[in-house]
Amino acid sequence: MKSEFAFIALPISALVAPSTFAVQYLTVDQAQRAIFPGKSLSAAPVKLAPAQRKAIEQVSGVRVLHDDQQVWRVSGGGWFIVDEVVGKHEFITYAVGLNANGSVKQIEVMDYRETYGGEIRNENWRTQFVGKTSQSPLKLDRDIKNISGATLSCRHITDGVKRLLAFYEVALKRS
C-alpha cells in the first residue's frame, strides 16, 4: 500500500559510533567560582570512619563507594563538595554547593563521559553516515557535540546528592 505522503527513504543505514562521548564542563576551580562567585574556599577533605560510612548509608539508602570525600569550606558559611557517580555507561563528576544550613545551593556537572565497549564490536554495524556529505570522514571526538534522542536519566546524581546530604549530617554539620 502506498502512503499518502512519501517519506524519503535513505539508502544507507547509517551508524556512527561515539564509542566515548565525553564533555568537560568545569574544572574544580571553575565550578567553585560558578557556585560560589567571589568567595574564598579552603580545602577540608574528609576521610570517613566505618561508623560514619554506615550511618550515611543508613540515612540515605545509597551505598558509599569511597571513604575519601573532596570537601571545601566556604568563607562566610557553606560547603563545596566534588563527587562522582557511575552508571551503566556513564561516569559523571559533579560539584554540589551547600548553603550554611546544609541545603543544596547548586549542582553543576563537571565531567560527563559515556563509554561503550563490547556491543560495538559484537554488532556488524556499517559505520556510514547519513547525509549529503557522507563521503567525508567524521571526526568523532571533535564533531559529536550535540545529541538528540534517548533521554538519559540523572537518577545516579539524584542518589549521589541524597548521599551527600547524609554525608553533611554525619560529617560536616558540627565541624
Binding site: 560495538i120 547519513v130 549529503k132 550535540n146 540523572c154
Partner: protein, 303 residues
C-alpha cells in the same frame, strides 16, 4: 588582536529528570554566565510548575482538584496546556495529555490514590479564562515531554533576553538552536544508544526525539513503552525512534508522539507546523520528511 573574539561557555545541570546542557557563544564571558544562570532558573521554574511527581506542582494540583472544582495555574502551565489541547484537536486525539493514567498503570509513573475515569480524554479538559482549568471527569494529565520542550523554549527566551547572541539548550535530547551559528545534531540510533544514526544541521530551530530505546520493558509478558497512542490507547511496541524538528521545542516534542503513532499519516500535521521528521527503525533505512525550506532562517538540513 581583535577584541570581539567569540568564546563559548557550556554548562550542564541535572534537571527535569535528565541532564540539561546550555551552550552559549558571545564575546563577553560575564554576560554568557549571566544568561546561563537565567536559562537554568527558567528550567527550574518549569520543573517546579509541571512535575508529575512534585505534589505542589500545577500538574499535581490539577490532577487532585481540577475535578470537580477548578484550579488556577501559572500562565506558563496554561500556555503548555493550550499547545497540548490544540495539538490534540489537530491530531484528532492521537496526542492526548490525559493518557498519563495508562502510563501510570504500567508502572512508569507513580500510581495515585484517586480513581480516574477510564473514558476520560483531552476533551474533558477545559481551559477557562484567567488561567482557570476544569476537568469534566476525574482524569490524570502528564505534561512530561512537552513540558520539557517548553522548558527548552523558556531557557532560549531567557538567554536571548540576557543578550546572548547564539547558543543551544539541550534537555536530555530535546534541544533548540538559536542565533547566527548553525549546529550539527546527531540523532541516537534506537537499537543501540552507542550509535548515532545520522546528523542534521539546525539553525534557529528545535529538535525533539522520542523513542522506546531504554524505557521499553516487559509487562505481563508483553513489551510496553511509555508512549501511548491517544486514539487506540495502545502502547508503541516497535523499536523505532522519531525525531521532529520545528521552530519551537514544545511543538517538536508533541509532534514526535503524533508521528510515532501515525507515521506517514502525520505528514499533513508536519506540514502544517512546518516541521521535519526522521523515523528510524530496526533493520530499515532512516526516512525523512522535510517541510522547512532552505530560504528561511529556521531550517533543517543534512550535513
Amino acid at each position: 588582536m581583535r577584541t570581539n573574539r567569540q568564546i563559548e561557555i557550556r554548562r550542564c545541570r541535572p534537571l527535569l529528570g535528565t541532564f540539561v546542557e546550555v551552550t552559549t557563544s558571545g564575546s563577553k564571558a560575564a554576560s554568557l554566565e549571566h544568561g546561563i544562570n537565567a536559562a537554568f532558573a527558567a528550567i527550574e521554574k518549569v520543573h517546579r510548575l509541571m512535575s508529575f511527581h512534585d505534589p505542589d506542582s500545577d500538574v499535581s494540583r490539577m490532577n487532585r482538584e481540577a475535578f470537580p472544582k477548578s484550579v488556577i495555574v501559572h500562565p506558563w502551565t496554561w500556555e503548555v496546556l493550550e499547545t497540548a489541547q490544540h495539538l490534540a484537536q489537530e491530531s484528532n486525539g492521537v496526542f492526548d495529555i490525559a493518557t498519563a493514567r495508562l502510563v501510570a498503570s504500567r508502572g512508569y509513573l507513580p500510581k495515585r490514590e484517586y480513581q480516574p475515569d477510564n473514558a476520560a480524554t483531552w476533551r474533558d479538559i477545559f481551559l477557562r479564562k484567567n488561567c482557570r482549568v476544569f476537568f469534566r471527569r476525574q482524569l490524570v494529565i502528564d505534561l512530561g515531554g512537552i513540558a520539557k520542550g517548553f522548558a527548552v523554549d523558556r531557557a532560549v527566551a531567557a538567554l536571548k533576553a540576557c543578550g546572548v547572541e547564539a547558543g543551544i539548550v539541550n534537555a536530555g535530547g530535546d534541544l533548540r538552536v538559536f542565533g547566527p551559528i548553525s549546529r550539527i545534531i546527531h540523532v541516537r540510533h534506537p537499537a543501540t544508544r552507542a550509535f548515532a544514526a545520522g546528523a542534521v544541521r539546525l539553525a534557529e530551530r528545535a529538535m525533539a526525539t522520542s523513542g522506546v530505546y531504554f524505557t521499553r520493558r516487559r509487562h505481563h509478558g508483553e513489551y510496553v513503552s511509555p508512549l501511548v497512542d491517544g486514539c487506540t490507547r495502545r502502547f508503541a511496541r516497535e523499536l523505532i525512534s522519531v525525531s521532529v524538528a520545528a521552530a519551537e521545542c514544545v511543538v517538536a516534542d508533541a509532534l514526535t508522539k503524533v508521528v510515532f503513532a501515525l507515521r506517514e499519516q502525520a505528514a499533513r500535521l508536519l506540514k502544517q507546523y512546518r516541521a521535519d521528521a526522521l523515523i528510524l527503525e530496526r533493520d530499515a533505512a532512516p526516512s525523512w520528511n522535510f517541510n522547512s525550506s532552505c530560504d528561511t532562517p529556521d531550517r533543517t538540513q543534512f550535513d
